[in-house]
Structure formats: C-alpha cells, structure tokens
Amino acid sequence: MIDPFAVLTLGSTLFILGALGVLLRRNAIIIFMSIELMLNAVNLTLVSFARMNGNLDGQVLAFFVIIVAAAEVVVGLAIIMSLYRRKASASVDDARIMKW
C-alpha cells in the first residue's frame, strides 16, 4: 500500500518543477507547459485527497481543473500566436511594451 504522504510528495515535487520552469525559462510556450505541469501536480494531490477522504469531491474538482486548463490553453496559445505575429519572437522578454 502507498500512503498519502508519498503521493503528496510527488505532487509537490512536480509543482516545484513547474514553478521553476515559469521562473527560469524565457520561451512563452515552455512557460505555458510549466503551468500545465503545475496544474497536473495539483490534480494529483486532489485525486489523492479524494481517495484519502473516501469521497469523490476531489475527483470532481480535478475534473473542473482540467476544464479550466483546456480553456486557459486555448486563450494562452492565441495570445502567444498574436505576440509572435507582432514581435516575430515567442520570448516573454519581447513583450514589454507596458513595462514601467
């Protein structure tokens, strides 16, 4: 039997990897993939909590996270496309027209 602690440790490790990806990478697409990795880590913890508590609320919440992630990917990739069309680059360093 695996215990919740092991699954939660895996989830937090994946979340930290995703957070480091957002902080360290410059390519907007890779940053986006790192956000997906973080959402997946949260899903894993939610599913683990559902099994820990013996009800399905956590799984329903993970299902909604997947829906919101799908919506977010569609809009985010459209933003990256229009950024690329304007700047001919997918680097977040080039999107600084509103920088103070």
Binding site: I2, V7, R25, L37, V47, V68, S82
Partner: protein
Amino acid sequence: MERWIFVPIAAIAILSGGFMLVARNAVHAALLLVTNFFALAVLYVLLDAHFLAAVQIIIYAGAIMVLFLFVIMLLGVDRMESLAEEIPLLRPLALVLGVGLAGTMAYVFWTTMRGRTFAGLREANRSGNVQALGRVLFTKYLFAFEVASVLLIIAAIGAMVLGRRRDEEEEASQVLTHGSSEDPSADVERAG
C-alpha cells in the same frame, strides 16, 4: 504491489518534468510533457480515479498537446534556444524560492499527513467510478458544471478574437513579405 507501480511511475514523472525544465528544444519539452501526462494517468488509475485517467489521456495527452505542438510548428520555434539568463540574480533567487517552497510543503505534509492512510474509494466507487462521478457532478456540482460550459464558450470566442488578423496588420505583413515598404507607417507600427 501498489508500491512497485508507484515508485517507477513517480520516477518517470519527476524525470520527465525535470528534463522539460532544461530542454532547449520546444518539441522535446512537449514530448517530455506527454510522458509526464501518461505517468500521471497511470497514477490516477492507481488512485481509483479511472474516469480521470481516461480524461487525462484524451484531453491532456490528446487535445492539449496537439494544440501545443501545432503552435510550436506554426511559429517555427522548433530550433534550439539559448538557456543563458540575462537578468542577474534571477536564477539563484528562483532556486532559493523553489527550495523554500519545497521546505514549506515538506514541513506541512510531514506534520499533517504523516501516518495517514487512504480511506479508499471502494464505497464511493461501488456502482462504478464513472457512474458515481456523474451522479456527484450532475447533482451537487450542477451549477459549476453549467458555469464551466459558459467558460469554454468564452474561451473559444476569445481565441477566435485573438487569432483574427486585423486588416492593417494584414497589409503590414504583405508589405513585409513583398520586401517593399510602400506604407512606412505600417512597418513602424509592426516594429514598435
């Protein structure tokens, strides 16, 4: 038995996530992310979330990753990129934040979750995971479900609006591709 599945799958998930962090090619990063999604789907099966495992494969590994690869190919950013950091101190600061986050989570999980066991979903999944999940989704969470459908429509419309080329942009790109700048203002706007 569970542990013999969990340990290698967890190793695959962490390794693919870690290599995604340092992948210089966006296509490689996308493939590593697919590996990660599959590993998580296996873990969902292990945690009695059969429906979510199928959804994970169909939506994440199928639809979302195809969308990612489509944009990568469309932008032509499948070349190597430099990993050099231009902002000083960002990398050590990020590592400090990452270690701090890891320490906080480890502390919280260690103090609250140590020794806890899974209650198991045998009772909740008695009529089948999909049936039980559907019953909860369409009774207790019906309003959230409807709101989610509105969200998806808004996202689709938003992506269409963002992806549409405006007329002046189209002219500017035509000027650029034909090499002659008959309309200098369009070029300036594009460059700025």
